[in-house]
């Protein structure tokens, strides 16, 4: 621990880009396929730097996302905290996983997040959706995960974030 809290801005920047991608308008038909960028970025940082990005950061990131999306305050926060908790518990094993296994876990985590969102949205009367199309976002997230993982790992190494 002789060098602590190095290059925090890189983490902020990746989250900022994830927020941008999360709110950029999509055509209507593609809305259900939008990958969940913020949860994925969170999974990466919680796995790579568990001592830096934990449940607290997940909660703050979620609140900001809630305000951005105009959803009920705490909706995304709850989902992201859950994701961070599971990831932190598994982070040592996750690092050993192959890309495919990791993608599978991302599929499960993002899926849990989406189902939670869906339930809470229905509870708070924010949506009327029927069907399971909203789960497609988990699939696209899992497909994108390996390349996002490589990209974030290279970013982390080149900026020496630890």
């Amino acid at each position: 621990m002789q060098r602590r809290a190095h290059a925090t801005w890189v983490i902020f920047l990746t989250f900022f880009i994830a927020y941008l991608l999360a709110i950029v308008p999509f055509p209507d038909w593609a809305m259900n396929y939008r990958p969940e960028w913020v949860p994925m970025v969170l999974i990466y940082w919680a796995m790579a730097l568990p001592h830096r990005v934990g449940i607290g950061s997940a909660w703050v990131a979620g609140i900001v996302l809630d305000v951005l999306e105009g959803s009920v305050l705490g909706l995304n926060a709850l989902g992201l905290v859950l994701i961070a908790y599971i990831t932190l518990n598994l982070h040592l094993r996750l690092r050993m996983f192959s890309a495919l296994q990791q993608a599978g876990l991302v599929l499960a985590l993002v899926g849990i997040n989406l189902v939670l969102h869906h339930w809470l949205r229905i509870m708070t009367n924010q949506t009327d959706s029927s069907g399971l199309m909203f789960l497609m976002a988990a699939l696209t997230s899992a497909i994108i995960w390996p390349s996002l993982f490589q990209l974030l790992r290279q970013t982390r190494r080149s900026f020496d974030v630890h």
Partner: protein, 289 residues
């Protein structure tokens, strides 16, 4: 984990409006950056345009303005005539509200919630319940105000009901947003005998006191009266260009356009009524002219 649940429960009951409002300052830059591609493309459209195109467009706009001005002249005489008639009937006068131009900068990421974000917020005097229009008709109402932006619930959202009336004969109805992802309205509780036809124009009726009266809302596309059902199935297509427009207007309605009953704004007027009824009417007429 527990604290999250408490936070979530709180937000349902609206204790956290202030927190959300404060966080709005933080999130504004994100919207600004996300909107950059659209602004750049508009800028490019503006810059790389030929002189002849500009002249042509200018000509067209001039003609359109001329036509619009002529219609406005007719409308003004009609409006004053209408007000005189209303004076005679001692009804409330209709005063057009002021508008504030705004731009749509984002849409809700949830495909089932039809909400848009506009670039005007509390700093511009936007308030909850304010009506949003585009050039063709009513779009929706403001449901959440942030410092520099606001969320607007569109009339086609399934949780939104617009009080409307048929322009032709004044039949009243409630227009609810469609429950599917389609951008249309369903008229609720229309009896089989009500006089509604496909092609009828629906205007806001001013009931509910959220929307100002007489703004065009939608056009009826189909009326289906099944004798076995209690109510007829009526669908309507919103007139506002909900999917692709960017330029919109916020209405600052004067109080009298919202409130159907005659209301005296100042005590003087009330006293004047007590003194002499005719004089007060004259006063009100002068105020509004």
């Amino acid at each position: 984990m527990l604290s999250i649940c408490i936070m979530f429960a709180d937000s349902r009951f609206g204790y956290l409006e202030r927190v959300r409002f404060g966080l709005g300052y933080l999130t504004t830059p994100v919207y600004w950056v996300a909107d950059t591609p659209a602004r750049v493309s508009f800028w490019i459209d503006d810059v790389f345009v030929s002189r002849t195109d500009l002249l042509e467009e200018n000509e067209q706009l001039r003609e359109a303005l001329l036509v619009a001005q002529r219609e406005l002249q007719l409308l003004e005489s009609l409006a004053s005539e209408n007000n005189r008639l209303r004076d005679l009937r001692e009804a409330t006068q209709v005063i057009p509200g002021e508008v504030l131009p705004a731009e749509i900068i984002n849409v809700s990421p949830d495909p089932y919630a039809k909400r848009v974000l506009i670039n005007k917020g509390a700093e511009d005097g936007v308030f909850i319940g304010q009506a949003l229009l585009d050039a063709n008709g009513l779009m929706g109402q403001v449901v959440e105000v942030l410092p520099f932006t606001s969320w607007v619930l569109l009339i086609t959202d399934s949780h939104h009901v617009t009080p409307v009336e048929v322009n032709r004969n004044g039949e009243r109805a409630l227009a609810r947003g469609s429950r599917s992802t389609a951008s249309e309205l369903e008229l609720e509780f229309v009896t089989q005998t009500q006089d509604m036809l496909a092609g009828d124009l629906l205007v806001s009726s001013g009931m509910g006191q959220v929307y100002p009266k007489n703004y065009p809302v939608a056009e009826i596309t189909s009326v289906y009266a099944d004798p076995g059902q209690d109510f007829a199935t009526v669908t309507a297509r919103p007139l506002a260009d909900l999917a692709s427009t960017r330029h919109v207007m916020l209405v600052f309605a004067s109080e009298e356009t919202l409130i159907p009953e005659p209301v005296f704004e100042t005590e003087q007027q009330v006293e004047a009524v007590a003194d002499d009824n005719q004089v007060s009417q004259l006063d009100a007429g002068q105020d509004n002219l």
